[in-house]
């Protein structure tokens, strides 16, 4: 398990929650900071004295106060640290669950895990620490699919045209022929078949007839 952990969190009650989780995992060597700048300095100092931290658990949003900060947010801190100390593992622990933000933290700033604060936040944090320790990335379940591309099924003009032809009573063979005549790709029978099956899945339609009925209701055709 991790030997030395730094917790960067400006709200005492939350950092206490984190610490209780760490204690549950029998991690005794931890330190707490309330400012990003402090976190950066501590990590730097530890590396220089060859007693580096293994893990940083950081919030993303810090309330601005009288102290002028170089690193104003967890996002900037993670990015800077990951560039300087790529071996340091970092878990972002935040209320923020907007996919764009999560994606930025994971892909741009290169955090190792992202845990959303919430009812089950601490449980997820525990899972995240274990996963990161094993070298695996971790995302809270509610944001589990943000890194996967083609998340929303997209249809295009070709699909619309195809459904229009179906609605006009064309068979799949005829549709294929229709596109061939007009030099529109794809036009092979198998490709048409696949597209229709995909559409049926997207629209949760049992058959082509229901697909057309739904598309009509939605005003697509």
């Amino acid at each position: 398990m991790f030997k030395k952990v730094l917790v960067s969190e400006d709200l005492g009650s939350i950092s206490n929650g984190i610490i209780s989780t760490l204690e549950m995992l029998h991690i005794d060597n931890f330190q707490k900071v309330q400012y990003c700048d402090d976190a950066y300095l501590k990590i730097k100092k530890a590396f220089q004295s060859e007693q580096p931290f293994d893990l940083l658990i950081t919030d993303l949003s810090f309330v601005a106060d009288h102290r002028q900060q170089k690193y104003t947010s967890g996002e900037i801190l993670i990015k800077a640290l990951k560039q300087e100390y790529p071996t340091l593992k970092i878990i972002a622990y935040s209320v923020e669950d907007r996919p764009q933000k999560v994606r930025n933290i994971m892909l741009e700033s290169k955090a190792n895990a992202y845990v959303c604060k919430g009812r089950n936040g601490l449980k997820q944090l525990e899972e995240a620490i274990s996963a990161v320790y094993k070298g695996q990335p971790y995302l809270s379940p509610q944001i589990g699919n943000v890194l996967r591309k083609t998340a929303t099924p997209e249809i295009d003009d070709f699909d619309i045209e195809m459904m229009k032809l179906l609605a006009n009573g064309f068979s799949q063979d005829e549709i294929s022929q229709h596109f061939k005549d007009r030099n529109i790709n794809p036009n092979s029978l198998s490709a048409i078949e696949k597209r229709i099956i995909k559409l049926r899945t997207n629209f949760s339609a049992k058959n082509a007839t229901q697909l057309i009925s739904i598309a009509k209701d939605l005003g697509l055709i």
Partner: protein, 549 residues
């Protein structure tokens, strides 16, 4: 009715009569002043006539009635000459000639032109400018078409030479005039030419002098030309006096005196009597005559000079006044433009300030609205729920999990409110951002499908529009997840350059669109950017929205 008609007819007749009377009155006054000018009986006649004609000619000029204006100016020139205002006379004549030159029908004004040049000749003769006088007569001759005019003009020209004692030149001119003679037609002119010819010849000791002088007298006698008879007798008296034939000279001088007496003119009487002074035996009287002549000549010259000076001063004053008037006019115009400019600037500034003020007010209003909305949400969703939990805990003892569930619910609601109103950062990849947004509403019950979202070119769309699109779609989706129970949502995008169409469509339970309070906000957002949003829904027929920017 009858009475009315009668009165109308009466009115008509009366007005015709009055206008005729007015017309004839004007005609009459012209004739009246013409007579005053040409045949004055009192010393005030000519100045009055000049005043009248000056006004008339100015009026005619402003009305472009140049024919009448020229006629008036010519009469003014004659009148001014008669009362000794030589330079005013010249000015009027020159002005008239200029009008003729500029006139389109120069041909019909030849007679006026000849007359005006003749008048100018007379003016220059009187002011001792013989060369200019000759020039004027030459110009008049150019336009003269009748023998009688030509004869008179040549004769006048000769008189100038005679005055300056250039007798040879005068003789040439008079012989030329004599050749033009048509004795039967113009005896008066012929006699005039012959008289002058005889006088000049006598000065040159030409033997034809006496016959010519006699012939002139004979013609004048035959037509009873009293003025002519006086001149002829005077010429003959001088002729004989110069040849020392005193008896003959005295006899003609007496005849001249008689003619002058019958002319009833003091000028001529004085002239006739001066003949006796010349012929007097007493040298003192002769000397008196010579001296008084030269004194009056000197006086005349001084007067002319003075008149010229006065005229120039008047002209200068007039020019100055005109310049001042022009200056005043320009100053006023400048002032007008300036005040117009200032007015426009002020107006523009006022409008700008007004618009700014209204814009500011609108902004403040929107801020207030947003604040009110958030406050209402906090009250409705958070405060109410918290109160419920408080009541629940007070009335019975729920399990820890139950309380936690309730609190988590509230926690999520507060986060939703926060997210809803947090700033939207438009990222580089707006398609992904939108896609994420739509995806966040996908769950086991609801599938979200996009159409052509990856084909959008967001770079040409302004950030404010992107933010609005984001917020409006979010509101639509939130509305959907709350109320529609729709299994399927399709959001279609299309774009023509920087014009965007977004169509939202679900197959949920739909609703009656009466008070779209939940969507009023979306509508406001779109309208602020001059876009449009159309909602369409019926129970059990889903919900549709069309956004156009």
């Amino acid at each position: 009715m009858n009475a009315h008609r009668f009165s109308f007819l009466f009115f008509l007749a009366a007005s015709v009569f009055l206008s005729l009377k007015g017309y004839s009155q004007q005609k009459d006054s012209t004739r009246y002043y013409y007579n005053k000018m040409v045949h004055p009986t009192q010393s005030s006649d000519i100045p009055i006539a000049i005043q009248y004609y000056t006004a008339q000619s100015e009026k005619n000029q402003s009305e472009h009635n140049y024919y009448e204006a020229i006629k008036g100016l010519r009469l003014i020139s004659i009148g001014q000459f008669e009362i000794g205002n030589i330079y005013d006379s010249e000015s009027a004549a020159v002005q008239a000639i200029a009008l003729i030159e500029n006139s389109s029908h120069t041909d019909t004004l030849i007679e006026s032109r000849v007359g005006l040049y003749n008048q100018l000749g007379k003016i220059y003769r009187a002011s001792d400018q013989s060369e200019k006088a000759i020039e004027a007569y030459n110009l008049a001759l150019q336009f003269s078409r009748t023998t009688i005019d030509s004869m008179t003009l040549i004769n006048n020209k000769a008189t100038i030479y005679k005055d300056s004692k250039k007798y040879q030149k005068a003789l040439e001119q008079l012989e030329l005039a004599f050749q033009k003679k048509n004795s039967n037609l113009h005896p008066q002119q012929l006699a005039m030419v012959l008289d002058n010819l005889g006088y000049v010849q006598s000065k040159l000791n030409n033997p034809n002098a006496l016959p010519n002088l006699n012939r002139a007298l004979h013609i004048r006698d035959s037509i009873n030309d009293l003025l002519g008879i006086y001149s002829s007798n005077k010429s003959l008296a001088i002729y004989y006096w110069e040849r020392n034939e005193k008896q003959m000279a005295h006899s003609f001088a007496n005849k001249a005196y008689n003619a002058a007496s019958s002319l009833n003119s003091l000028t001529y009487l004085k002239d006739a009597l001066s003949l006796f002074a010349i012929m007097d035996d007493n040298p003192n009287i002769v000397q008196f005559k010579t001296i008084s002549d030269s004194v009056s000549t000197q006086k005349q010259l001084a007067q002319n000079k003075n008149a010229l000076l006065r005229y120039n001063v008047e002209k200068e004053q007039k020019n100055t006044a005109t310049a001042q008037l022009q200056q005043e006019k320009e100053r006023r115009q400048k002032l007008l433009y300036m005040s117009l400019g200032i007015f426009t600037t002020l107006l523009a500034a006022f409008i700008i300030i007004l618009l700014k003020f209204r814009h500011k007010k609108e902004k403040i209003r929107q801020v207030y609205n947003t604040e009110a909305r958030i406050s209402k949400k906090v009250h409705d969703e958070v405060a109410n729920d918290l109160y419920h939990i408080m009541v629940k805990i007070q009335s019975n003892t729920p399990s820890k999990d139950e309380v936690l569930d309730d609190i988590e619910n509230i926690y999520n609601k507060t986060r939703d409110i926060s997210k809803e109103n947090s700033a939207v950062e438009v990222s580089e990849n707006f398609t992904e951002q939108l896609s994420d947004l739509l995806l966040s509403y996908k769950n086991e019950q609801t599938a979200v499908i996009t159409q052509n979202i990856s084909k959008m070119n967001w770079k040409v769309i302004s950030d404010i529009k992107k933010i609005t699109i984001y917020r409006v779609l979010k509101e639509l989706m939130t509305n959907m997840s709350k109320h529609s129970q729709a299994p399927l949502v399709v959001v279609s995008f299309s774009q023509e350059k920087n014009k965007i169409n977004i169509a939202y469509s679900d197959n949920g339970i739909g609703c009656h669109i009466k008070n779209k309070n939940g969507l009023q906000n979306a509508e406001n957002r779109i309208q602020t950017l001059k876009g449009s949003i159309i909602f369409e829904s019926k129970p059990n027929e889903g919900f549709k929205a069309k956004i156009t920017f």
